[in-house]
């Protein structure tokens, strides 16, 4: 509600209308991944390795195949053998193939080894028990530091890429180092240097909708796939490669998506369902259960980090150094590079050095999770800054303001910043009543900043006008949090027609050009930019028709409030011509009118946020309560402020879960111990206070309306802000997440 009193040049942008898909979603009509049926449909189920690391000696599927209800059984042999293994992320198709169906080895507990399609879900599940797999169990490792140790079992030789220095364990597959200045000289200038080590556990994106799809691949080589995904073109491209098909022969339709947060930016069951369908020659539906989601889809990376920061008595940071080791499962891809590049990004540093490692272990392949890599780095960096502030008796917001990056600052990752809004978020934090509110005994307050790059990506949008003057907008980015509403607002703004007259559809891969995934906080930025430009393209054509009718040059016509009007007194004296008056006979004045945009926008604009948290620790039980929470973040321009607030609130609460409760717990046997929501506890309503939000708007010059992505930055500060609040409340520094009650009790005990 922070924007209500602000003046705006916009008519639609910045308002809060009902979302176009609201009715479907409150009545149960909206069709999600598991809600589709097809004639003759079979049900698929996947057999998974119970071992963390094992050679697959033999798979005998004959008993399952002999069952009357079973129509197909597949193993790795049913996929393309043309996908090459390459080091690092170069061989990503191979990594994905190996992840969706194991080859020679099972690499983690839950790794798929075979699949069946049967006439019912129960029959498919029963049939899995008839598949006999002979394993040779191998030594395993699940911890990041242990996976880097000289005696660690090697998960796969040759997975490391060019970047890894000689002498490192083969499980270290990528290495990143960057920075500038001379950190040793910087530390020598400091009045106080603090160096600490931090650990965070892997957490799951925790979307409520498990992965689900319905695949149909006939013997004509043409396929149809319905699935819940953040990006159906990447699904199309990946599945086609894994099955050895032509991309265009596979049409992928995105269902409504029940949350993704990065976890649905790749494929898991989709190629399996297609392979089953191809073999059975019938449609096959595959739906994961929750345990499969935890065991076999992307959690985020776990991390082990060392951060060293030097500060002068006045709060100036003289040097900063961070070593960030990220474990990303049995495949390359842990975003150690992103952790390194984001950790110190909020600050204007003369001397900075950051190192990131991508380390493999016997765990599921990590997938992106909201600003992937950034939250853990911010936890370590912002904790050390908090310690320095405490020891030097300095205000944590003042210190951050003193060192904050602004336009022209050389970023820790290299280039100079354009117009950014970190200082504005810090000033808003300092002025917020939350920051001045008194704390009760036993409570502590924490502050932290966070940074994320944001992304543009390939984008196609089409806008078609109807004869009655309404508009159909086709976008290719699945709506994960109300984006249809912001697209319609932006189109309404340009066209000057009512928001309600614009129908927004998430088009399938056969009816629109390529679109990158709904990730990287890119949807409102890139699909929004594309929508604005497609609408402007349509407006140009509308102006041409008006010019032709009036018999004046097209440059003498402009568009205002949904009407073509003469651009000035010399252009002629004509009444405004509304959009519907032009479209009503468009078929006979030149043909249908549509607008298009196909390009890769490259002006996403980075984003910053500052969070304020109050926490209360019960010294008897070690339980933490978050008593007050305020998110302050730069949105550039909030198109639909309610959904911007929603992104801030959701990001903060996922951060609360990560900080306090959530973790992947592995037993000595390398098996995941907590693969249901009862044991992997995400925040529930009774855990939380209201989450206050402040939308700061420092326009992004790379977007026509100033939009910066808002989806990801909100999860970057919480781990640190909560850790700082808890540490200040408990009087002992918490350097390991989650700060679960036993861990807090142990820390309190160690502290005497």
């Amino acid at each position: 509600m922070a924007l209500d009193d602000r003046k705006s040049d916009f008519k639609f942008v910045g308002t809060r209308p009902d979302r176009p898909d609201g009715l479907d979603k409150v009545t149960g009509r909206a069709k999600f991944g598991a809600d589709a049926h097809a004639p003759g449909m079979l049900h698929g189920a996947i057999l998974r390795s119970p071992h963390a690391h094992a050679r697959i000696v033999k798979i005998d599927t004959s008993k399952a195949e002999a069952l009357k209800d079973v129509k197909a059984v597949i193993t790795r042999a049913d996929f393309s053998d043309k996908v090459p293994f390459k080091p690092g992320l170069e061989g990503e198709f191979w990594n994905v193939l190996e992840n969706v169906m194991a080859g020679e080895k099972a690499l983690y507990d839950g790794h798929a080894v075979a699949a069946v399609a049967a006439t019912s879900a129960l029959a498919a599940r029963d049939a899995l028990k008839q598949i006999e797999v002979e394993y040779e169990v191998l030594p395993h490792v699940t911890d990041v530091d242990k996976a880097m140790a000289p005696d660690a079992p090697v998960i796969r030789e040759g997975a490391a890429d060019y970047s890894v220095p000689e002498g490192m364990h083969p499980n270290v597959v990528r290495y990143h180092e960057s920075g500038h200045g001379d950190v040793e000289a910087g530390f020598a200038e400091a009045d106080l240097v603090i160096e600490d080590s931090f650990v965070t556990e892997a957490t799951h994106q925790g979307y409520i909708e498990p992965h689900a799809c319905l695949a149909s691949l006939g013997n004509d080589g043409k396929g149809e796939l319905w699935c819940c995904t953040q990006g159906h073109w990447i699904v199309q491209k990946t599945c086609a490669a894994l099955l050895g098909m032509e991309t265009s022969n596979l049409r992928v339709t995105a269902s409504e998506i029940g949350g993704g947060f990065g976890g649905k930016t790749t494929v898991f069951i989709e190629p399996v369902a297609l392979a089953l369908s191809r073999k059975a020659n019938r449609p096959v539906k595959v739906v994961m259960n929750r345990s499969e989601v935890f065991r076999a889809t992307g959690p985020t990376s776990s991390a082990s980090m060392d951060v060293k920061i030097g500060m002068k008595k006045d709060g100036t940071i003289t040097a900063a150094e961070g070593i960030f080791r990220l474990q990303g499962g049995a495949f390359p891809g842990a975003p150690g590079d992103m952790t390194a590049m984001c950790g110190f990004a909020p600050y204007n540093l003369t001397n900075v050095r950051q190192v990131g490692y991508d380390v493999m272990a016997n765990r599921p392949k990590q997938a992106a999770y909201r600003a992937p890599g950034a939250p853990m780095g911010a936890f370590a960096v912002e904790s050390v800054i908090d310690e320095l502030c405490n020891k030097l008796g300095l205000d944590p917001i003042d210190v951050r303001l003193k060192n904050a990056a602004y336009e022209g600052t050389k970023a820790s990752y290299g280039p100079r910043y354009g117009r950014i809004g970190l200082v504005e978020t810090l000033e808003a934090a300092k002025a917020h009543p939350h920051y001045a509110a008194p704390l009760k005994p036993g409570q502590g307050r924490g502050i932290a900043c966070g940074f994320w790059f944001n992304h543009g990506g390939e984008t196609s949008v089409s806008l078609a006008l109807s004869e009655d003057g309404s508009a159909q907008l086709m976008v290719g980015t699945p709506d994960i949090g109300g984006s249809r509403a912001s697209m319609a607002l932006m189109a309404a703004e340009v066209l000057g027609i009512p928001y309600e007259n614009i129908r927004v559809t998430v088009a399938d891969t056969a009816t629109l050009g390529y679109n990158d995934v709904s990730h990287g906080s890119r949807v409102t930025y890139a699909s929004g930019l594309a929508t604005i430009k497609a609408a402007r393209n349509a407006v140009e054509k509308l102006c041409e028709r008006a010019a032709a009718k009036w018999g004046i040059p097209v440059d003498a016509v402009k568009w205002e409030d949904g009407c073509a009007v003469p651009s000035g007194p010399n252009a002629g004296d004509f009444d405004p011509m509304p959009l519907a008056d032009i479209t009503t006979n468009m078929g006979s004045t030149g043909g249908p009118i549509s607008g298009h945009f196909e390009a890769t926008p490259e002006g996403a604009g980075v984003s910053f946020g500052t969070h304020i948290v109050d926490a209360e620790v019960d010294p008897e039980t070690g339980k933490t309560a978050v008593t007050r929470y305020t998110v302050i973040q730069d949105a550039g321009k909030a198109i639909h402020p309610a959904y911007v607030e929603g992104q801030y609130q959701g990001g903060a609460v996922q951060g609360i879960g990560w900080a306090l409760n959530e973790e992947y717990i592995y037993g000595e046997d390398g098996r995941l111990q907590n693969s249901i929501f009862l044991d992997y506890r995400i925040p529930v309503a009774s855990d939380l206070p209201m989450i206050d939000t402040v939308i700061v708007e420092v326009p992004n010059p790379g977007h026509p309306f100033g939009v910066r992505g808002v989806g990801e930055t909100g999860i970057v500060p919480p781990l640190a802000a909560i850790a700082n609040a808890v540490s200040n409340a408990a009087g002992v520094r918490m350097r390991q997440l989650p700060m679960s009650p036993p861990r807090i009790l142990a820390a309190l005990k160690d502290n005497g």
Binding site: D18, T27, G28, G259, N289, G481, A642, I682, P683
Partner: protein, 159 residues
Amino acid sequence: MSKIHVSTTVNGDTVEYLCDPRETLLDCLRDRLNLTGAKEGCGTGDCGACSVTVDGRLVCSCLMLGAEAEGGQIETVEGMADGEELHPLQKKFIEYAALQCGVCTPGVLVAAKALLEKNPDPTEEETRYWLAGNLCRCTGYDKIIRAVMDTAAEMREAS
């Protein structure tokens, strides 16, 4: 395995289905009756996405067998609106942007309706504890709680 014949009432309509003894009420609603509003988020009664009421009692339909529904009165999200007229909670959820992805929404709405029928004037704390069995990963619950509290206030005024 032979199937069980079940005759029950869903959203006021008499329905019949044949189910495997192992199938849950949720399976039967979704796969036998094509009522896919209730979702399976966990299958273990932890997420509440499958919430329905049976004889007025809020249950996780993934924890109840389809065969147990014999003779029951089941209400699902599909029966929440009165014809064209949305339930006040449904309207308020749209107005408040109390949903993002929307997959938990059917369960949250059914649970919230059950709360307001039992307690028309819940405190924020009561609302938060009542809805603690409904996981939402998108919203942080803020707008959900506000929407339920405000609906309760409006319904009290209207009655």
